[in-house]
Structure formats: structure tokens, C-alpha cells
Amino acid sequence: MTRAFDRVFAAGVAALALLVPFTLVAITLLIVIDSWPALTTFGLSYFTTTEWDPVKLVFGAAAYVYGTLVTTIIAVLLAAPVAIGAAIYLTEFAPRLIRAPIAFTIELLAYIPSIVYGLWAIFVMVPVMRSTIEPGLQATLGQVPLIGHLFSGTPVGFDLLSGGVVLAIMILPILMAVSREVLLAVPPTQREAMIGLGATRWEAVSRAVLPYARPGIIGGAVLGVGRAFGETMAVTMVVGNSSREISGSLFVPGYTMASAIANQFVEADSELYFSAIVEIALVLLLVAVVVNGVARVLIRRSIADRPAGVVI
């Protein structure tokens, strides 16, 4: 009786556990089937051309891929220093009393709905970007020979840079939380040994703590990248939604993959148009799988065999 029940129970939970992978496989299959017409019609040119014309039924998603990459890179470049700096302060320097409140406040950012970020960005951030930050960047960094081109054009406020800045704020909590966990997982003996040798706090952090935690922090950044890739609403509201060209400037309206799906899916009335949009979803799904895999490996390498193990 008991053993029979055990077997039934085992089979039951196994079925529950398999349900999730099955869902993923089913979704993937569905996406592949639905994107098949576009896959076979456009092949590789889908990834290399920027013409996206629902009237003439010619689809190339390069501008969307480019927009997603650029906004994500901006987001990580802006968010990573802030997140890592905050995490170092909270684990190494901050008085105990304020550690929890600061960490809580930063993590609270993760609970603000995407659409609220978008509205804030449209009404507060975009006007500031257009009138102050972008002209400021143009007057300073814009004059530097090699990178000056990044800041060329008329500042409109609805552009790749704005999309990246909103994303930076949105991925900050996950970056900070992961960095903090990883830094907490660094064994106290690492610091104690350095300080025992007469090192300053800076030397202890930069030579003993950070190198130890580096893979985990990179893993956190990769998770942030994953979040930035898929983020839709807030970016759509400020990125400009124009896939006209890849100009190299950050001050031109752009388009991300997730925005393209959200904007065009509902009214995609012909089969090829529909399947071209589903193919964007396929690309996003593949990216998500790869990014997640990389993050897992990096974080595991960072916390394996550590005394104060953390669960990510």
C-alpha cells in the first residue's frame, strides 16, 4: 500500500515537474512553426537588412536587433557601476543600521510596473534629455574625435539613448541584488587576511573581495542583460519606434525587438507579416536561453565550494 502510493506520488510529481519543460518545448515549437514562412522566405537576409515594409512584404529585422543591442549595452554600462558600487558600500562600508533600508529601497525599484517607468520617462526624462543632457553631451563628448559620432544629430529625446537610460534604471535592482549576494558570499577570511597584511580597505576590496566575486557579478550583469532584452513597455514609450536606418548615433529614434512585437503583432494581417513578427520572438527566445545559460555558469563558478553559500 505504502509503496504503491509512493510510486503514484513519484509519478504525480514527475508529471508536474515535466509540465514546465514541456511548456517551453511547446512554445518553441509553436514559434518555429509560425515563423516558418518568414524563415524560409528571407533566410539570412532577415538579420542583415533593415527594410521592414508591411506593404511590400519585405522584412529585415537588423534595425530591431541593433536597437536591442545598443539600448542593452547602454543600460549595462550605466547600471553596472552604480549597482556594483552600491553593493560594495552595503557589504563593506555601510553602518549596519542603514544597510537594510538602502538595499530595500533599491530592490523596491524592481516592483514598479514597467508602464509607470514609461510614463515617468515620457513626461520627465525625455524633456530633460532633449533640453539639457543631450545638448550637453553633444557639446562635450560630441567633440571627442572617435566617439563624437555617437552624439550627432538633432536631440529629440525619443531615441536609443533614452531607451538605454530607462533600461538602466530598470535593471539596477537585479544587478545590485545579485552583486550584493555574491559579495556577501565572499568568505570573511579573504578580507581578514588582506587587512592582517596591512592592506587598506580599498586594497582589500579591490585585490581580495572583487576578484573573488567577479564571476558572480558578471553573472548578475548577464541576468540584467536578459531583463533588458525582453523589456517592452517602458522602452517602447521612449525609444522612438523607427527602424529606418542604422546610423551609429545614439540621438536617433530606434526600435527594439520586443517593441516591434508589441507594436505590430495585433494588426499583422498577412501571413508573411505575422510570421516575420513571430521570427523576432524566436530570436528573443534564443537570446534568453543563451543569456540564462551563461549567467548560470558564471554564478555557479563564483559560489561553488564557498562556506557561506547563497542560492540564486
Binding site: 515620457i122 538633432t154 523607427s242 494588426e267 499583422a268
Partner: protein
Amino acid sequence: MKKPLIASLLAFSTLLAACGGATPAATNAPTTGGTTAANACAVPVKAKCPEEASELVGAGATFPAPIYTKWVSEYNKLTGIQINYQPVGSGGGIKSLTDKTVDYGATDGPMTEAQLTAAGGASAVLHIPMVMGAVVPTYNIPGVTAALKFTPEVLAGIYLEQIKKWNDPKITAINAGVTLPDAAITTVHRSDGSGTTYVWTDYLSKVSPEWKTRVGFANSVNWPGGLGASGNAGVAGSVKNTSGAIGYVELIYAIQNKLGYGMVQNAKSKFVEATLDSVTKAADGVTLPADMRVSITNSENADAYPISTFTWTLAYTEIANKAKAIAIARYFWWSTHEGQAFAKDLGYAPLPAGVVTKAEGMIRAITTGGVAALPK
């Protein structure tokens, strides 16, 4: 296996004979019973008739959703019939109708030949006009408060990114008395697929051969440049926030949000402000095809606002489910007659009388089992 089918077919045809005022046999030999049943389901709609379905599901265009919602609630008060209208977008409405997951669809742009073929052929689906709307240019130019005048050439030139400054001679020539600044023009368009974009680009395609070949018209197109923003609210917000911007929004949206908008020169070279009356004029006194699958942008009527459009509901000409066929026909009849009274308050232009007559003909063409759904 065959017996029950035949039996039900027989029962069905008896039912048809009982109700059907439209079969030649029934008209030639009216029976008292038949006449009573026919009268109950006749139009105008006074109350639910015994033979019609008590629930309908529709899906489609978002642009007329506010008035469709109003109609559904008023019609429910009158008849008790529950109608569930889902504003999923014109493309979604056409898809749902083709997949037969809804009883009727709704769209802001007529179905294409390919879509009609998928749905069963050119005569399989009826496009019944419900109300009219318009799309207006709205702009944000520093120091300009007057209503600007636009010619078709100027609108196309701006959206083709050929006219780049507000003080371009082509704009100043038609706006004597308005001081236009030397400011760059930023065009704003809908980033989401939309019937509003369909009307706007359909108009530009009619007035500009270059637009027609380079861009064309559809719910979303490959824009020559500019910013994309989602929904009327997104376009209006981007225009408001961007100095020198021009965008296009639905007339209703502009009226409700007190946005300033420009006058557009119509096909008879007259500058017309978009009002509910000038929109109705676009379908008045012009020749319209029998199937009503027609764009009325750039109307020939001298008083018409040129960027006007119908919005249609879509129904199959032959609806096998008799109860549903009667319910749909009666609801459409009520919408195109009594329902029109609600249009102006909600910012829609009512149909002109000539179009209502055409709609009547189309609604009477809805059949069930080959017999007209509406009794004579």
C-alpha cells in the same frame, strides 16, 4: 447516422417556412401563423423577437469601440440581448471573422482581395458602414496658435521628409498672416498597427504618386522617417513634448482632448476644417459602389473634409445559424438607424441618408439557409 441529420434538416426547413417571409412560397401563400412570426422579427427593432439569439460576439476595430460599447448597452436595455464586442484591432477582427471565432467583425479599412478569398470569396462577406470618422493633423510649433492650412502636397512632402522646416515656402505660401519659425519638422506616426494609419496613408497615397510608390498604404507602413508612438495618446503626447512636431490623430481624440488641428485642402481646392458635418459630407453626394468596400478619402464633395472614412462591421452574407443571423441583422439595422442618434455625442459623424439606404440593402441581403434573415 444519416437519419438524424435528415430529420434535423427537415425540422430546420419547417422552421424556415414558419418564419420566412422571404421565400417565394411564403410570400405567395401567406399563412396567419407565418405572418405573426415574421412581424415579430421585422424591423425597426422594438424588443427581442422569439427566434433570434440572445447572445452575440463581435471583435475588431478599436476606433469605433466607444460607440459600439454605447450601442451594446442601449441595445441590451431595449432587447435584453447580450453583445460582447472585443476591440482587438481591425486585423484581429478580420482574422476572427475568417476563423469564425466571432459572430461579426469590425474594421476601419476594407478587407483586401486576399483576405476576402480566405474568408470565402468577394461576395461572402458584407461590409456594412456604421459611422464615420476622420484623421486630423496636429502640431506643436513654437509661437504658432492659429489653425494652419495644409495642402495635400505639403502633408505628403512633410511625411516624405522633403519639407524639413516649418518656414518652407510651400507652407508659408498657403498660410499668409501666420509667422512660421525656422524650426525643424519632426514627424510623428503610429508605431502600432492602426486603422488611423490606414486612413492617413490611404489619403497620402491618393494625393501623392510618390507616396503611393515609395510607401503605400496599410495599417502599418515603412515610414520614410520620424518618430513612432503608440496609440492616439502616444502620438498626441509626443507632439506635445516635441517642439516642431507634427502628428496625426483621430478627430474624436483631438476634440475630446481639445488639441488644435489644421485645415486640409480637399479635392475641390477648398480648405476645410474637420467637423462632424464636414466628415459626413465626405460620403454625401458621391457615387459609392454597391459593396461599400470603398475608401472615401479625398472625397469629391466640395464641402467634405478629405481625410474621412467609414468604419464597417463585417458579417457573412450567409449565416447558417438562423437565430444568430436574425440577431445580427436586427442589431445592425438598429445601429444604422436608431443608433446613429448616439454618434455625435461621442464624436462620430453619423452616416448620410444615402448611405443608410445602402446599408439597409446590405442588411436585407444577409441570408440564413438561403432565405433572408430579416422578414420583409
